[in-house]
């Protein structure tokens, strides 16, 4: 009995490999879940993951393979907007369904009919963070983010939203990833004498930033982590202790707890980011959509997704509903803080 195949393109090597691997785990758990529940129309669901190597050419070749050789009806992924966008563009042109589980560029919205999006895009995230920071009474904030599509989006967007509220962004730094130290960037920010810092960063880079911020004595001001689980994943707990932050809505509720449990048993460690939850939801949703439409073609998936969303679907990241453009309405965000070495809601 043939399995029904779906595809994913993820950064399994290169600078975003950590998150790529985290997403892959989510997908894997999702497939296991669907199959444990009886699969898709009585068949097993199978997942083909291709490496993008953080390179658009490789990613597009991988997407092409998935679309034209494996003939999968739906492809999930990438993480970097600069790769997700061309890949999704191609997939939509081929009529394959694309499911965004990692990129937050607002351009995701205009990809076309067969493009769906599960996560909150940067404009929503920025608005959420700006309101949260403002509500905490902070008015003069310095921002440090990586110099890529994501970081640029956060930095510019946050400033815009924050200033709309009447706050002031004292300094912005787009740091170049992969350096051995960010002391100099941090010190430049400190010269602006902000009353709080907002940062967003990937695992080990954030670890350096957090450690050095502490060494430089900058932690006497509040630190706000944007996409907190990603930002503190590799930082020793005693260093990040006391930070606050926001998060793309993470796994929550009973469903979420069960999922976190499953993740823990499968991989012997906690989440490395929130993205695995979206990846998991993506797969489960697709399984449901196929069952709903009773077919596994791209058109079926597209139809099924709409239908499932109409009926109301709850994933580990909360209730999922798509608007007419295939975008998740009211994508969830959480407010978190790090206390006693644990990320807890605040």
């Amino acid at each position: 009995q043939e399995a029904i195949r779906i595809g994913a393109v993820l950064p399994l090597t290169g600078p975003s490999a950590t998150i790529g691997e985290d997403m892959r785990r989510g997908l894997q758990l999702g497939v296991e879940r669907v199959n444990a529940n009886g699969g898709v129309m009585g068949k097993q669901l199978a997942l083909i993951v291709e490496d993008s190597a953080n390179n658009p050419t490789t990613a597009l070749t991988a997407a092409r393979k998935l679309a034209t050789v494996d003939k999968v009806p739906v492809v999930l992924g990438e993480f970097s907007s600069s790769i997700t966008l061309p890949v999704a563009q191609y997939l939509v042109k081929e009529g394959v369904v694309h499911m965004n589980i990692g990129s937050s560029s607002t351009k995701v919205r205009d990809l076309g009919d067969s493009a769906f999006n599960l996560i909150g895009l940067e404009d929503a995230g920025n608005r959420f963070a700006a309101q949260d920071v403002y509500a905490m009474g902070l008015r003069n904030v310095a921002v440090i983010t990586p110099n890529n599509a994501y970081g640029q989006g956060v930095s510019h967007g946050f400033k815009e939203e924050f200033e709309k509220l009447g706050g002031k962004v004292a300094g912005q730094i787009l740091y170049t990833g992969g350096q051995s130290s960010y002391r100099r960037e941090l010190q430049q920010l400190a010269r602006a004498k902000p009353d709080a810092y907002l940062y967003s960063s990937y695992g080990h880079e954030a670890a350096i930033i957090n450690r050095e911020a502490k060494e430089l004595g900058l932690r006497s001001q509040p630190w706000y982590a944007y996409i907190m689980s990603m930002s503190v994943s590799d930082t020793p707990a005693d260093i990040a202790e006391g930070q606050v932050g926001m998060e793309l809505g993470a796994s929550k509720g009973e469903l979420g707890q069960a999922y976190a449990q499953a993740y823990n048993t499968a991989f012997k460690e906690g989440f490395a980011s929130v993205f695995n939850g979206y990846a998991y939801d993506g797969v489960v949703l697709i399984g449901a959509a196929m069952n709903q439409a009773a077919g596994s073609s791209a058109a079926d998936v597209q139809k099924g997704l709409k239908a499932v969303s109409e009926q109301g679907f709850t994933g580990v990241t909360g209730p999922i509903h798509f608007d007419a453009k295939g975008q998740r309405t009211d994508p969830p965000y959480d407010k978190l803080k790090l206390e006693n070495g644990k990320l807890i809601p605040r």
């Binding site: 090597t13 993951v49 190597a53 953080n54 390179n55 050419t57 092409r64 061309p86 563009q89 599509a149």
Partner: protein
């Protein structure tokens, strides 16, 4: 499968054009350009910016080639007094600086997001035929470039370049203007490579900064060295092989049923291994440069 093969051939063809371009510098003239991808990047961004600015898209390629040639002129000037290794790093530096400009100046280049929705060529044709037409175009360009680059290498210009490559002092003393030779070699190579970059942008409907990473230049170098530097047939063979490996890796992974958490490691490892085996087995490349017999 058919579609996939067409796309592999097309991408391979684009890389072949760039590698043939690199061969004019590295193979014929012994100029170690580690920033070669910058020429392609300029070509791609020229097409992208033409699109962004709303200029007639047909202007993209010519603008790209012109900009590439200009960059080539500049880079060659830079090499006036630099020895080979040092020039190599200088070119790398130029490429990195250009990439950083592309990342940071989003008013011009779309920033780190890159430029999307660049129109393709032959989009009016029906579904498989537009891809076929594009492939035919690329294959045609590859053949043309290969033919001309072989001519260039075997002819009097190529001979001058090769003498410069091996014994610059002797070449000077025989009356060659090394600076002019170098400039012309780099500019020809830049023109070809920028063209390939422009075609890339049209093909992928996209121009972005990841494409300009130093790693891409190393891919070109790999193709060049595996096949046989300095020899057109060798270069083409190298491109075919490397492209075949790149295209095959996902299938091998599926075939051997590797779990997907090893997919990334496997991809890198396999390419590295194949490259290494090739180099160890045929050290001069598969088709090494021969002594040329003047006809």
């Amino acid at each position: 499968m058919f579609d996939f093969i067409i796309s592999v051939v097309t991408i391979g063809g684009i890389y072949a054009i760039m590698t043939l371009g690199l061969n004019i510098q590295a193979g014929y003239s012994g100029l170690l350009n580690f920033g070669h991808i910058a020429f392609a990047g300029v070509g791609a961004y020229a097409v992208g910016i033409t699109h962004l600015q709303g200029w007639p898209i047909a202007l993209g390629l010519p603008i790209g080639v012109a900009a590439g040639v200009l960059l080539g002129w500049f880079v060659a000037r830079l090499g006036k007094r630099l020895a080979a290794d040092y020039w190599a790093i200088a070119t790398l530096a130029v490429a990195e600086i250009l990439r950083m400009i592309a990342v940071n100046e989003d008013w011009l280049t779309g920033g780190a997001n890159g430029i999307t929705m660049i129109p393709g060529l032959f989009e009016t044709l029906a579904r498989p035929w537009n891809a076929v037409a594009f492939m035919a175009l690329i294959v045609g360009v590859v053949l043309l470039v290969a033919f001309f680059s072989a001519r260039l290498g075997n002819g009097r210009f190529g001979r001058a370049l090769r003498l410069m490559r091996e014994q610059p002092a002797l070449a000077t003393c025989l009356g060659y203007n090394l600076q002019s030779l170098r400039t012309r070699a780099v500019m020809s190579s830049a023109a070809v490579t920028a063209l390939a970059g422009g075609l890339y942008a049209h093909y992928f409907n996209y121009a972005g900064t990841e494409f300009m990473l130093a790693a891409e230049t190393f891919v070109l170098w790999t193709m060049l060295m595996i096949g046989g530097i300095g020899r057109t047939a060798g270069v083409l063979l190298g491109v075919v092989l490397v492209q075949a490996v790149y295209a095959a890796v996902p299938f091998v992974k599926d075939m051997l049923n590797f779990s997907s958490d090893m997919a990334g490691a496997l991809r890198m490892g396999m390419i590295g291994l194949i490259l290494l085996v090739c180099l160890m087995w045929r050290r001069e490349g598969l088709l090494p440069e021969k002594l040329r017999e003047p006809a």
